[in-house]
Each structure stands twice: as structure tokens, then as C-alpha cells.
């Protein structure tokens, strides 16, 4: 026990040093940072995160909306976790909490192996910095009055000041991060954001995040505002960063297919009204969802008729989320096609399905095949 605590302290110190003084190996370039990232980053873990908002300006005005009701998850270094759910389910709040732009009411957060619970707010900042948020709208995420060069320079200059690097290092590093995201520095550096396509802008946003050698990227609907033909390029980039730099990716979306593309080898969390209702390896959950909410969500994905056939058990669309629905019992009971009296009175807890890694929070888990599958002849 004591030994464990000491090793944790060691990790704390090491990680703090990294965050405030830099890695010291940065000068060697991309490879240095990359291997470094995997080496000491450690996992991201959340335990029982709770967050409430005072709702304002709409139907629920004045009421307290419970955005997150005790969320647990873990992402290993270089791993991927996707959070899917409707708008208003709390997935965006979760990402913002991880990146430190939103506070949380209770629960514990471990970033890069360091529990934040005991740290003063000022001491937390360097750890939160290692989790970078990639916004949905790459246009609003870049200052329209500044060139890409000056956008990248500022965080690098700060970094250089902390680590005693030279001006040349800043210039070199700016080019390196652009190379990493597949942009031509010569073309991009002197330009303003509006002179770039949506896909390029989002790559610049990712490049800017890479200037601080993040351990994790939180991508909140990161491709939904990008043209369809350019989306895959950005998704591929996020996949590459996972393998080359060991950056873990937390992907937040309502688009299940992109979540699968990013993290087919990772974990999928289905979140409903601030609660995880199903969780497991991505492919398992998609192929064999057991929670009716997951099944409704997956049934709502359009089927490419002609190329795909709808899943045999595809469910009809449920009514959209209504936050005023009762909170006793299962939160999904009011919309669930299979709900019983027990569901309306008793709250199901997240539990493992027959000893597997597949977790669910349903009294009557039943596998249903709802996702469309490719037609045999194509």
C-alpha cells in the first residue's frame, strides 16, 4: 500500500516536471516527443464524475439539469474511447471537463497517471493542458485575425520560454507539427484561417493542440462541419496520431460510423442523460448491443439501401430526449419499447454481461441485431 502510494507520488512529480519544464528531449524533434508521450503519459481515468447545471432560458428554466450522474471510464495511452449519445446527453460536458474548461461537482479524475483530487487548481492546469480539446467548428476555433504562423507560434513561444529553447526551435517545431498533420508549412503558415478549407482548418487546430505534446485529444464532433469528402482525411490523421505519437483519442459524436472508424479497436461508451448505459469493445457493442437505448440509437443510423440491408431487429425511431421525463427507475424507461414496471421503479446499475468486458445497465439485456450489414453481393 505504502509502496503504491510512493510510486504514485513519483509519477506525480515526474508528470509535473514534464508539464512545466518540458520533456527535455523536444529538441530532437518529433520522434522524441512521440516515444516520450507513450512512455510516461499513463492512462486517463474518470471515476464517478458528477456535474449539474442550472438550466436557463428554455422549458426547463430554473431547474437543475444533471449533465453527468457519475461517469466512470478509462483510456489507456494511445487508446481510443468513443462516447455516443443524443444531443443533451452530457457527452460534450464530459469532454470539456477532461480538458479542464469546465469544472465538475464530484468524482475523481486521473490524468496521465496523476490523480487531480489533491492538487490545488493552479497545480492542475499543467495536467489539463495535456488534454487538448478539438472543437466541432474549426472556423471558430481559429482566430480569424491571425495567420497560422502566429497561431502556432504563441503556444510554442511559451513552451520555448519555459524550456529555454531558441527562436529557431519555435520555427522548426511549427513546421514539424504542420508536417505531422499533413499540411505543407510553406503554403499554410502565411495564410489566414479563412483562406483554408474546412479540412485544413481542422488540421491546423490539431497541429496547434500538438504544440503542447498532449497525452490525449478530445475530439468533440470534430468532423461534423467538414465536407464529406474531406472528413476521412481528418479521421485518418487522428488514427495516425494514435499510433505514431501514442496520443489517446477521446471521440465524442452522435455519428456512430465515425466513432467506429476512429476507434474500432477501442472502447465504445453509450451515454444517456449523463449516465453510461452500455460500454464495451467498439465492434462488440455495435454488433451485439444489449441495451434498448443503444439499439434505438443504432437503429436510427440511415441504411444505404442498395449497398446495405437493415439489421434484422431494427427498431422504429423513439421520440427525442425529453429532460422532464421521470428520473426514478431506469432513465430510459419512458422511451423504451421494452420497459416493464420494474424499469419504472428500480434503477439498473452498470454491470458486466456474463463475465465479459461488455457492460450494460438494463434489467432485461437482450442481443438485437440492429445495425445495417453490407449486402452479400457487394
Amino acid at each position: 500500500m505504502i509502496h503504491k502510494k510512493r510510486s504514485l507520488d513519483g509519477a506525480t512529480r515526474e508528470s509535473l516536471d514534464r508539464a512545466t519544464n518540458g520533456t527535455g528531449t523536444d529538441g530532437t524533434g518529433t520522434d522524441g516527443t512521440g516515444t516520450d508521450g507513450t512512455g510516461t503519459a499513463g492512462a486517463i481515468e474518470a471515476r464517478g464524475i458528477v456535474k449539474s447545471f442550472k438550466a436557463r432560458g428554455d422549458v426547463l428554466a430554473g431547474r437543475t439539469v444533471r449533465a453527468l450522474r457519475g461517469v466512470d471510464f478509462r483510456i489507456p495511452p494511445g487508446g481510443a474511447a468513443s462516447f455516443i449519445g443524443e444531443s443533451g446527453c452530457g457527452k460534450t460536458t464530459l469532454g470539456r471537463i477532461l480538458a479542464g474548461v469546465e469544472s465538475f461537482d464530484s468524482g475523481e479524475l486521473v490524468l496521465g497517471g496523476v490523480p487531480l483530487a489533491g492538487l490545488a487548481p493552479r497545480k492542475r492546469a499543467p495536467h489539463f493542458r495535456r488534454v487538448q480539446l478539438i472543437h466541432q467548428d474549426p472556423y471558430s476555433a481559429l482566430n480569424p485575425t491571425r495567420t497560422v504562423e502566429s497561431i502556432l507560434r504563441d503556444p510554442l513561444a511559451l513552451r520555448a520560454k519555459q524550456t529555454g529553447q531558441s527562436r529557431a526551435w519555435i520555427d522548426g517545431r511549427a513546421r514539424e507539427v504542420l508536417d505531422l498533420v499533413g499540411l505543407d508549412p510553406g503554403y499554410v503558415l502565411p495564410r489566414f484561417p479563412h483562406q483554408l478549407s474546412g479540412g485544413m482548418r481542422q488540421r491546423v487546430v490539431i497541429a496547434r493542440a500538438l504544440t503542447v505534446d498532449p497525452a490525449a485529444l478530445v475530439a468533440d464532433e470534430a468532423v461534423s462541419m467538414i465536407d464529406v469528402s474531406l472528413r476521412l482525411g481528418v479521421l485518418n490523421l487522428l488514427r495516425e496520431l494514435r499510433s505514431t505519437l501514442g496520443v489517446s483519442v477521446l471521440f465524442i459524436t452522435h455519428d456512430v460510423a465515425t466513432a467506429r472508424y476512429i476507434g474500432a479497436d477501442g472502447e465504445l461508451y453509450v451515454i444517456y442523460r449523463g449516465e453510461i448505459v452500455e460500454h464495451g469493445p467498439t465492434e462488440t457493442v455495435l454488433a451485439d448491443p444489449v441495451h434498448p437505448y443503444t439499439q434505438c440509437l443504432l437503429s436510427a443510423i440511415p441504411v444505404l439501401h442498395g449497398v446495405e440491408q437493415p439489421g434484422a431487429d431494427r427498431l422504429a425511431p423513439t421520440e427525442p430526449l425529453d429532460e422532464s421525463q421521470p428520473e426514478d427507475g431506469c432513465l430510459f424507461a419512458a422511451r423504451c419499447p421494452f420497459a416493464t414496471d420494474r424499469c419504472r421503479t428500480e434503477h439498473p446499475e452498470l454491470g458486466h454481461l456474463g463475465g465479459t468486458a461488455h457492460e450494460h445497465a438494463c434489467f432485461y439485456p437482450q442481443r438485437r441485431s440492429v445495425v445495417a450489414t453490407p449486402l452479400a453481393d457487394t
Partner: protein, 302 residues
Amino acid sequence: MVTAVEIPTGNTPALTPARRGFWRNLWRVLRRKPTRVAGAVIVALFVVMGVVGPFLYPANLPTDPGNAYAGPSGSHLLGTDFQGTDVLALLVTGSRYVLVAAVIAAACTVVVGTGIGLYAGYRRGGPDSVLMRITDFIITIPGLPLLLVLSTLWKYSNPLTMGLVLGVTGWGSVARAVRSQTLSLRERGFIEAARGLGLSTAHVVRKELLPNVAPYVAMNLLISVTVYIYLEVGLFFLGVLPFNENNWGVMISQAVQNGVTQTGQGLAYLLSPLVAILLLTLGIVLLVDAMDEVFNPRLRED
């Protein structure tokens, strides 16, 4: 209605050189519309007049009581006043006080207003509440009576004093407007990103927020120059402020006191400062139109 397409601002937007100095940008933007060039020329003329003008004339302008209220003529382009002094000379030598005081006041307004607006909008919470209460207080101070009261302390013989007093009492509305702009900018992703990258508050305010409120601030700077000119001229016209220097407001005041409005004699004497004020206002209004494009790289492209 709906804009279905993004109208390109240029034929090859992706290839225009991206960075240029502020003055080159300004020139390019001005050239786009003849009205802007006209505005810039007018404003420049007044600046030259204020800077160089007083050196062209002796400190005490000659009087010629025998030739009072003369109309425009070859020797007196704008006629003469009640003492027979050349009106053009009065106009030129009187411009400096008015312009310097107005510019100082506008600069005060913009610096104080923008600073407070940015800080309050960015920090929100406590500092915001405190600063906005102070701002409300400043806004509610009735400017004119205060200036009158203060005239018992200062004689406003120096345009600097005048400018400072006007500026210090006039920044309230700019602060409020900049604050509300900052509040909405604050929600934009790039501000959040800058904080997430660990950049300091000073950086965020100076390099992220300021460039985005700059067009607004520049417009305010220009417009408040005209507002302060009106205010000054008004004060002197009322004659409640003692003066020991020649300026436009004094000219109008003197013209009216000497019965130009009743007799119609020496009309040029009364009209000259009024037209000068109108012309300067026009020049500034024409220039204001260019400010958005000067500071917004997207609009700036050819």
C-alpha cells in the same frame, strides 16, 4: 434570407499574399472606394491645418476695425470678424486647440473604455460587476454640468486639460459596448483553445481579443473625435467657459454675440467654423466605412 453560396472576395483568394503592414492594408482598403479617399484627404487636411497652421500666422493676429464684417474678398478669403481680423487666419489658428483636445479625449475614451470593457468581459464575475457599476456611474454623470463645475477649478486654457476632462467622463458607453463584444467573443473556440494551451490572460486579451474588437474600437475612436468637437464647440459657444485662446467655438460664440444672426452682416464669419466642423465630420464618417476591412483579413482581400 439565405445566402446559398459563399461569394469569393477575390478571383484568387488563396494566393493573395497574406501579411502586409498596417499602413499598406489601410492604403489598399482606402483605394477601393473614392469616398474613402476623399474622407482620408479631408481628415489629412485638417491634421495638417492643426499641426502647421498656427506657425503660418503671427501670435497676435492683426486687427483692422475699419474693415469689420467684410465679406470674402481677395485679401480676406473668408472675410473678416468684428475686429476686422482675417477669418481664415482665425479658422486655421483656432483649429489646433479644438483638434488636439478632441483627439486626446477620443484617445482617453478608447484606451480606458477598451481596457475596461475587455477586462470586464473576459474576467466576468466579480471584477465585471464592479467595473460595470463604475461604468454605469460614469455614463450617468451629466457631462455638461460637470464640465461647468470643473471650470471653476481649471481654466481649460490648455487643450490637454480639456481633452482629459472630456475623455475621463466619456468612456462609459465604449466600455459597455466592448464588454458585450468580448462576452460573445469569449464563447468562441479560439479563446477557449488559447486558455487550454496555457497562454496567459494578458496574451488572450492582447492578441486574441483585441484584434477582434479593433475595427469596432477604431470606429469609436473616429466617431468620438467628432462627438468631442461638437461638445467642445458647444461649451465655448455657450460662452460659459473662460477662454484666452482663439478657437472655433469662440468664433461662433463671438459671431452670434455680435449679432451676425440678426443682421446677416459678416455671415462668412459665422459660417466658416460651422462648415469646417461639418467638413471634418463628413471626412471622418467617410473614413469609418473602411475600418471593418482594415482589421478583418477576410474583408481586406481584393
